[in-house]
Amino acid sequence: MWSGELTTLFRRRRVQALLIVLAIVPTAIVLVLRFAGGPDAGEGPSFLNQVTHNGVFAALAALTVTLPFFLPLAVSVVAGDAIAGEAGLGTLRYVLTVPAGRTRLLAAKAMTISVFCMVAAAVVAAAGLISGAILFPVGRVTTLSGETLSLASGSLRILAAAGLVGLSLLGLAAIGLFISTLTDVPVGAIAGTLGVLILSGVLTALPQLSSIHPWLFTAQWQSFGDLLRTHVQWTAIVKNLEIQAGYIALFATAAWARFTTKDILA
């Protein structure tokens, strides 16, 4: 069942297109840096100014640039479509009469969305890494603390960063899955999930609401950068994972409670 769900997902043109866009964004950034020159040190998003010295940093720059919008957009599309998309196509009634089992289906959907989150982050990092390595010199990785790591150990940290970014998206994915159980209109669920993302951005911009800022699922999204310190600073990373786990627990339970009792009219 699990492999079937994954092949069904990745055979879809829409999903393939999303991944292609996710690969194009970092490539475009690297091309711009190569042919128009990079920003001066201290300007632009983190890691961007280091790309010209070391192509490996393009992977990190790509993650930094795509994390606020492109990655969550892709996750919203896939998560929002999970149940509502089946309902919209009418396949939900057939999937449930197979019988796939409601809890089992929801678990399979949660699994495919999670895999998509990790794949999406990996595609971004890989596209950045490959285009960076082709267009810029590659060498030892200078950490944020100013020391250097071997290329191998630096690459390992970049891989871990991509993994953390993937995990960072799971909270939003859980919200999307829950919204997906509320409607038979996939576009509505996708828009709703994106709305939650935008709302989180708006709340972050309001200093009056600083007391709730630490609890937003986007609060520690940039914490993966801490992996690039010589001695990795785990506080923010762990905090981020805790937040994501909290959102997953809350919204996965809500999705389960909703979906297992829902009248399937689609």
Binding site: G4, R11, V95, V98
Partner: protein, 328 residues
């Protein structure tokens, strides 16, 4: 939910018996204040081809959705093979193939890929023989040639066939087919009828919903009629037809004399147009050959003599006293 004993009518079989494939006990579904299905006591014998008749909007699909555990009833409950739905869905539905409210598949996958996906969804689904199962199901509904085409390129009839193929992926004890010939050409309709008979021959119970009386009449052994969410009648086709009665139809230019002869035989003829007389007959008491002999020897010019068994539509009208599409 009501207590199980309380909502079972007196005389209804106990759950757990294997003589009924489908049984409902006061099954009711309300959307708001409207009862779409109203206190349905349905009993589908195992091995029957059961026609579930009703005009559009009579609650057939809502009933089917409750049978399959997609909807929770507002009151009462439904059992498949004596197992309560939707609680036993995971165990029972493995033996049930269904076509509900038209086919639905993933447009971006081919026919084969779609069926493979559904096959993989089965709990404890066996990987072995998967391709063979899918190939056979496609062949059974005549879709082999279109197996590699994407579903979005399928015509309505092909989609319906793929839906049936999906219902037939596994050996089934019960098939619930909601309007299976929708969108099919006459050839396709004939093939579906043939398929239904084949399935019945293997001992499977087939529950067939339709708003087309003629279609049901040709394949069914049992019938239930639903109107506005309420069960109007159910029983074997023969039983229902017997209740409506058989009649003898004599076609002749000599209506007056034919009437006299028939009265002489103890029948109660009435004229049916200027050139025909009809008379109800009970069972085998009046043999048509005797009537023919009597008419000929009396010198009646006999243009035609027929024993008319009532069509399902006639039966329906005689049972309810109203047309099929009459809305209260």
């Amino acid at each position: 939910m009501l207590d199980e004993a309380a909502d079972r009518p007196a005389g209804a079989p106990r759950p757990g018996g294997s003589t009924t494939a489908i049984q409902t006990f006061g099954l009711t579904k309300r959307f708001g204040s409207v009862a779409v299905v109203d206190e349905l006591h349905l009993s589908v014998p195992t091995g029957s081809v059961f026609g579930f008749l009703g005009p559009n909007g009579s609650g057939k699909t809502t009933t089917i959705r409750m049978l399959l555990g997609l909807l929770s009833p507002t009151a009462g409950h439904a059992e498949l093979f004596g197992r309560r739905m939707p609680e036993s869905a995971a165990d029972v539905l493995v033996d049930v193939g269904a076509l509900v409210e038209g086919p639905a598949f993933y447009p971006w996958l081919t026919g084969t890929q779609n069926l493979l996906r559904f096959d993989r969804l089965l709990p404890h689904g066996r990987r072995a023989g998967r391709d063979k199962r899918v190939g056979e199901a496609l062949e059974r509904v005549g879709l082999t040639a279109a197996a590699a085409k994407r579903y979005k390129a399928y015509s309505l009839g092909m989609r319906q066939r793929l839906g049936l193929a999906s219902a037939l992926l596994q050996p089934r004890q019960l098939l619930i087919l909601d309007e299976p010939t929708n969108g099919m050409d006459p050839q396709g309709t004939r093939e579906i009828r043939h398929l239904v008979r084949q399935l019945a021959d293997t001992g499977a119970t087939v529950f067939l919903s339709s708003h087309l009386l003629a279609e049901i009449e040709q394949v069914c052994t049992h019938v239930a009629v639903l109107n506005l969410g309420r069960l109007i009648t159910q029983g074997s086709l023969a039983e229902l037809q017997a209740r409506a009665g058989t009649r003898l139809r004599v076609e002749t230019a000599d209506v007056a004399m034919a009437t006299e002869v028939l009265q002489g035989l103890g029948l109660r003829p009435t004229s049916d147009g200027p050139r025909a007389v009809v008379a109800p007959v009970e069972g085998d008491r009046t043999r048509p050959e005797d009537v023919a002999r009597a008419l000929v020897s009396a010198g009646v010019g006999l243009a035609g003599l027929a024993v008319e068994r009532p069509s399902l539509e006639d039966t329906f009208v005689s049972l309810t006293g109203e047309g099929f599409d009459v809305v209260r």
